[in-house]
């Protein structure tokens, strides 16, 4: 296996190099997606399927779409990347030094079980069987709540960027796909499937790899595809229902967390009710995440105020 690991690592590094320093922005982004997939593979190899899923869906997939979209928009705006072919040696040296220190640190750390045994010990009380989900949604639920809000913050951060300040217009560029094109067909086919996969991922997350973020990502991908295919119009940011969808997840999370005060503490899920509460949160959160991610990928309205 060591050979596989080494090869994978080499490939990862090469892909990263191409993404970071390779010529051509488009190519770099493509290499970045490849890199993401390879990293996801590494996570599988490291026995972390939850992370692998997240990396594949979010790190490689969604980020890749985001970047690709940006490449397109940038080239449409005529904003090409300035050419830099030479290696910046001083920076390379400094980065190398930092890297060397990290490598030294990594090598001088003795591996240990960390908190895994402790988590395993209290797993039964968390209401879920997947330790990662247990950490995410129970042990460190406060992190996760904040994280879902971070996502929201990023989306709200896009609003002021709307062209002409029309932040309530439909998200993203105006798409004009052919009704009978490949994309359209794909678009018609995908949503039901994606919905299924997404919901499953969330459901499964409780006892095996998967979870709200991964599930939400899948749903979002489907939604974005539909919009790009021109099948549905991108939602306007101002539409009350959509906004409600955005905040429903974090809102419920917070509400249940505060409700936990009744059981003795903030974000406290009593063992008996934990599974139900977590699942409820995950379901609603998935919806919110999906909407958030979809709007994020579509980007701020570029219609210039045309509603």
């Amino acid at each position: 296996m060591a050979v596989f690991d080494l090869a994978l690592c080499t490939l990862i590094l090469l892909a990263a190099l191409a993404a970071v320093a390779g010529p051509g922005l488009f190519r770099a982004v493509v290499f970045f997606v490849v890199y993401g997939v390879l990293i996801a593979l590494a996570w599988v190899r490291l026995g972390a399927p939850d992370v692998a899923l997240a990396e594949a869906a979010i790190g490689a997939g969604l980020t890749g779409v985001l970047l690709l979209g940006a490449v397109g928009r940038l080239s449409r705006a005529g904003a090409d990347e300035p050419l830099t072919s030479r290696i910046d040696w001083p920076v390379a040296l400094a980065a190398g030094l930092v890297g060397a220190m990290l490598v030294w640190a990594v090598l001088s750390l003795a591996p240990g079980p960390g908190l895994a045994p402790a988590v395993a010990e209290i797993l039964p009380q968390t209401g879920v069987e997947n330790p990662v989900t247990a950490v995410l949604l129970n042990l460190r639920a406060w992190d996760t709540l904040l994280e879902s809000v971070v996502l929201l913050a990023a989306l709200i951060g896009l609003w002021p960027l709307a062209r002409g300040g029309a932040w309530q217009a439909a998200a993203g560029p105006v798409h004009h796909a052919l009704p009978d094109g490949v994309l359209a067909g794909f678009g018609r086919l995908l949503p039901p499937v994606a919905l299924l996969v997404g919901v499953y991922l969330v459901w499964a997350g409780a006892y095996q790899p998967g979870g709200a973020f991964q599930g939400g990502t899948v749903l979002a991908a489907a939604g974005v595809l539909c919009v790009m295919a021109g099948l549905v119009r991108a939602p306007g940011m101002a539409a009350p229902l959509w906004r409600l969808a955005l905040v429903a997840g974090p809102g419920l999370f917070l509400a249940l967390g505060v409700a936990g005060m009744a059981f003795g503490g903030f974000l406290l899920f009593p063992t008996a009710l934990a599974k139900g509460m977590i699942l409820a949160i995950e379901m609603v959160l998935t919806l919110s995440i999906a909407v958030t991610l979809a709007l994020m990928v579509l980007g701020p309205p570029e219609g210039g105020g045309a509603q």
Partner: protein, 96 residues
């Protein structure tokens, strides 16, 4: 699994190089993501012990990935909007 941890460290270095040396704003976003995933890889690989990875780092990494995505989304939005306004992909005053 130290090799993954070292790879993570190298990715950080590589990403940092790109983040700093690149002038193109989108490239910096890409590099930032490389640094991020490098850090995560380090984190995960260091938590690997006897065939399993510590679930705590796993959870944290997932959180980190989402946070990185959020940041990237905002960054991309800003880069695109900036390009639309200024017609370029570099910051003023930001010669190498």
């Amino acid at each position: 699994m130290t090799v993954y941890a070292v790879t993570g460290a190298l990715l950080v270095a590589l990403g940092l190089y790109g983040l700093i040396a690149a002038r193109g704003l989108l490239r910096r976003v890409v590099a930032f993501n490389v640094v991020g995933s490098g850090v995560f890889l380090m984190f995960g690989a260091l938590g690997w012990y006897e065939g399993h990875t510590d679930p705590v780092p796993q959870a944290l990494i997932i959180t980190g990935i989402v946070v990185a995505l959020s940041a990237s989304a905002l960054a991309v939005g800003l880069v695109v909007a900036h390009a639309r306004v200024s017609g370029g992909q570099v910051l003023e005053d930001d010669a190498p």
